[in-house]
């Protein structure tokens, strides 16, 4: 298999490499990429333009016919599908800033010498990330049920009745599960970025009399802006895809319908509704919506993006 070194006919300084070596190296990825990333996108687009038409009473079998944009029209007429979008956008607009603020706060706190037993606390903040998100949802599902939850029982005993599964708050109970799972990984990424900033950067600020808080907000945070952008962006993409937590919590409450989020609607349409063509149209719409939101975030962070680009 070894691609033996080519003869030194060309200039050695730039590597007398057999010209097809790099292509062999990237081939596995490119093939898999085409097969399992590009092809599904193409399949989704093509599928979304077709529909299964059953003839007569369904006895005469069915045929797949080109229907143009009819599936998209149906998707856009589906109020339950559409209503999922503002729901996940609202969810993301609250969950992402809260999570990133807490993660940044912890990271900055850990970066100072102020916290004793730092390793232990980092461990506890990070531990939930090792719990698969559906297992986390199962766990919190128990803690959200008054019959088993020690937390709800505790609040009850001091006169506060909480019902995290009520239709008005269930969205934030889902957000809590995601928050619990993901603060740790974001904290670690931001903390690692902070640790790689040379300490001398802070000396000047200290000599100028800046306190810990000012140093943190005006020097440390800007220094790790690319990391903040990266984690924020991936969090935003994550919220639009919201599926695991509500799908699991759905089993313990009637306040989460099967089309609660766009992704759940796609899943329900594909499996329960048995209409993969409509589901494909919905997947295309969700994919485009995610793309638009991601590009908006990137544009809004143009300046930091440029710096991130240099970082790469």
């Amino acid at each position: 298999m070894s691609t033996s070194t080519a003869t030194g006919s060309r200039r050695r300084r730039h590597g007398a490499v057999s010209p097809w070596a790099p292509y062999l190296f990237v081939a596995p990825f490119v093939v898999l990429f085409l097969l399992f990333l590009v092809a599904p996108i193409v399949v989704a687009f093509v599928n979304s333009l077709f529909s299964r038409q059953s003839s007569g009473l369904g006895f005469g079998g069915s045929s797949i016919e080109f229907v143009g944009l009819a599936n998209f029209v149906r998707a856009f007429a589906d109020r339950d599908f559409l209503v999922g979008f503002p729901r996940v956008l609202l969810y993301g607009a609250v969950q992402v800033p809260v999570m990133m603020t807490i993660a940044a706060f912890f990271a900055l706190l850990f970066d100072t010498a102020l916290v004793k037993a730092r390793r232990f606390f980092q461990f506890t903040v990070f531990l939930p990330y090792a719990v698969p998100s559906v297992i986390a949802a199962l766990l919190w599902g128990f803690l959200y049920q008054p019959s088993v939850s020690p937390v709800l029982q505790f609040f009850e005993s001091i006169g506060i009745t909480l019902s995290p599964l009520a239709s008005t708050v269930v969205l934030w109970s889902i957000a809590n599960v995601a928050l619990w799972s993901l603060v740790g990984i974001n904290m670690i990424i931001l903390f690692s970025a902070l640790q790689s900033v040379p300490r001398e950067m802070y000396e000047a600020a200290r000599i100028d009399g800046a306190g810990e808080v000012r140093t943190a907000l005006q020097i440390k945070l800007p220094m790790i802006a690319p990391a903040v952008l990266l984690t924020t962006l991936s969090s935003i993409i994550g919220t639009l895809q919201l599926f695991n937590e509500p799908q699991v919590l759905q089993t313990i409450t009637s306040n989460i319908p099967s089309d609660y989020t766009p992704n759940m609607a796609i899943y329900a349409t594909s499996t329960l509704g048995k209409d993969p063509h409509l589901a494909s149209a919905m997947a295309v719409i969700l994919g485009l919506a995610t793309l638009v939101v991601s590009l908006l975030v990137l544009a809004a962070n143009k300046r930091t993006t440029n710096r991130a680009g240099h970082g790469l």
Partner: protein, 308 residues
Amino acid sequence: MASDVALPPVRDSAPVPDGRRRTTFVSGERVSRTWMVIATAVMALASIYFLVPVVWLVIAATKSTGDLFSTPGFAFADFNLLENLRALSTYQGGIFWRWGLNSIIYSVLGSALTTLVCAITGYALAVYRFRGRTALISVVLASLLVPGTVIAQPTYVLLVTLGLDNSYAGLLLPALVYPFGVLLCFIFAQSSVPLELVEAARLDGAGELRIFVAIGLRLLASGLVTVLLFAFLGSWNSYILPLLVLTDAELMPLTVGLTGWNQASITIPGLQILTVVGSLVSIIPIAIVFLSLQRFWKAGLTAGSVRG
């Protein structure tokens, strides 16, 4: 391009000297003791939030179904952990352990292969200049914006077409496409594989594949731990694709199996405690592996992915 930047060491927490003064020094920095107490108290409060569900899980796993509902959540009742584990092992012919084995197959085999694919791709992008290189980098970057779970449904349709649905291959192959991992490897390779070294090996007559294995993989090792762990967690957590692709219970990973039990526990009361014990059993090994490896991949994160 390639500057062999030494990895900045991740600072370990320095021992805190017991000072009687109002200020104290930690790794050369002057620290107010009042603020230290406040900061530590804040973290202690916060850690309760992160620990409560886990502590509840540990306690709940030792209870019988009756005690689960009739005793306080944070109090131990009759110790039934062993009975629960026995029930977990025998229910439906011990299918829980089969799910565990499946999860291990999907994550260990999957993440190892994924890391290898990412490593060789990222290495090639950093070391070689070839036609289509810039285009490939752009495509990898752009594909980061493609939401994974959105293409789950079309991926399922495709797997059905290929006849790969409801099979190990059907779950393993799509996981091998990990553009973020390729990007990380590309960044790692740029900063840690000196072109001069590759050139020297070439002059010594080594083949390209051999250079990659002997030099590239070795220099990339610390960064690859990061990719490996993210890929591992990705497949360990994977839910929507196996949910769509697998109909055979024998092939399911823990996530799908346990949520299925949770769903069924509405009508089968004994399943509730099995879900609890099963969750605990499924978390313990991964938590140990993950946390014991964290210093490796934390160093990896520092070295490459997110520098300013």
